[in-house]
């Protein structure tokens, strides 16, 4: 049961992530990312994190990806132009990615004493989570709310109409 669920949703995760890279239209990439995030929510549930599974669907797959798709539609983003990319990415980037993945895989496969996950082990309830969050970590939680407030103000200030436009030239022609 656990094995089947893990394999199916890990497959969805990897498939969505690869599809994100292969698609040339941003909206297809965004939809693949939603698949990845929703499958990750199921994996969180398999690991016993029920609150995070719910938050993953609501915050990530819900709020953040809606924001992404809204911006894609608002900017009317078309297919991306395929270019050769930068030389730095080809020379330094891809070997580094392979090296990082190899090192991580070697370390992970050689860790001693890493346990197993089983469905019978029960879940961390929202009550356990909130008990620690609101007793020991109340200050970081409140600071996060200030961060969100500042982010909202920053987003409004940045996206406000007329921000950063060059006054002499009309819109749209400025970049060409």
């Amino acid at each position: 049961m656990h094995l089947i669920l893990f394999l199916v949703f890990a497959g969805f995760c990897l498939g969505g992530a690869v599809n994100l890279l292969l698609q040339s239209h941003p909206i297809s990439s965004a939809l693949s990312l939603i698949v990845v995030m929703t499958s990750l929510a199921v994996l969180y549930l398999l690991l016993g994190a029920e609150f995070l599974a719910a938050a993953q669907v609501i915050v990530y797959a819900g709020a953040i990806m809606v924001l992404f798709t809204f911006v894609i539609m608002l900017l009317n983003a078309g297919r991306e132009e395929r270019t050769l990319g930068s030389k730095a990415a080809a020379i330094v980037g891809f070997p580094s990615v392979v090296a990082i993945l190899a090192v991580l895989a070697t370390v992970i496969l050689h860790i001693q004493g890493l346990g197993h996950a089983a469905l019978r082990e029960g879940i961390t309830t929202t009550e356990d989570l909130s008990r620690v969050l609101f007793h020991e970590l109340l200050l970081p939680f409140e600071v996060t709310s200030v961060l969100i407030l500042i982010a909202i103000l920053g987003a409004v200030a940045l996206a406000r109409h007329g921000h950063g436009e060059i006054q002499e030239k009309p819109e749209r022609t400025a970049g060409k």
Binding site: H2, L3, F6, C13, L14, A17, L20, L21, S29, A30, L33, L40, L43, L47, A49, L52, V59, Y60, L67, F68, L74, L75, A77, E80, T83, G85, A89, G93, V97, I100, L101, L104, A105, L114, G115, H116, A117, A118, L119, R120, T124, V132, L133, L137, T144, L147, I148, I150, A151, G154, A155, L158, A159, H163, G164, E165, T173, A174, G175, K176
Partner: protein
């Protein structure tokens, strides 16, 4: 019925999945040529790291690992809001989303 729920799979599989997802995110960051898709690759990397946080929280039976994921989600939400606002501001001036044409910090 009991055997259905007692099946165990090693936690290293979750960590490997997390590492592969992170690498796919880095590759996407390098090869994609659309500003929004590059930004989505960053979100993919954040998600991959969250998965390993949850795995280790399960390993050590520590609730604080899960709370850290909660904070990462909050920061990601703030980051997405500000980042997309910046993308809109850039698009107003440049009328393009191709990263090759957005190579100056100056608007």
């Amino acid at each position: 019925m009991n055997s259905l729920f007692s099946q165990e799979i090693p936690l290293s599989w979750y960590l490997l999945l997390s590492a592969v997802l992170f690498s796919l995110g880095v590759i996407g960051f390098l090869i994609k040529r659309n500003l929004i898709t590059v930004f989505m690759s960053i979100e993919l990397m954040l998600n991959a790291v969250n998965l390993s946080f949850v795995t280790f929280a399960h390993q050590w039976h520590a609730v604080k690992g899960q709370i850290f994921v909660f904070f990462v989600m909050m920061v990601a939400a703030a980051e997405a809001a500000v980042g997309l606002a910046i993308i809109i501001a850039i698009f107003r001036v440049r009328a393009t989303l191709a990263v090759d044409r957005i190579d100056l910090m100056k608007l």
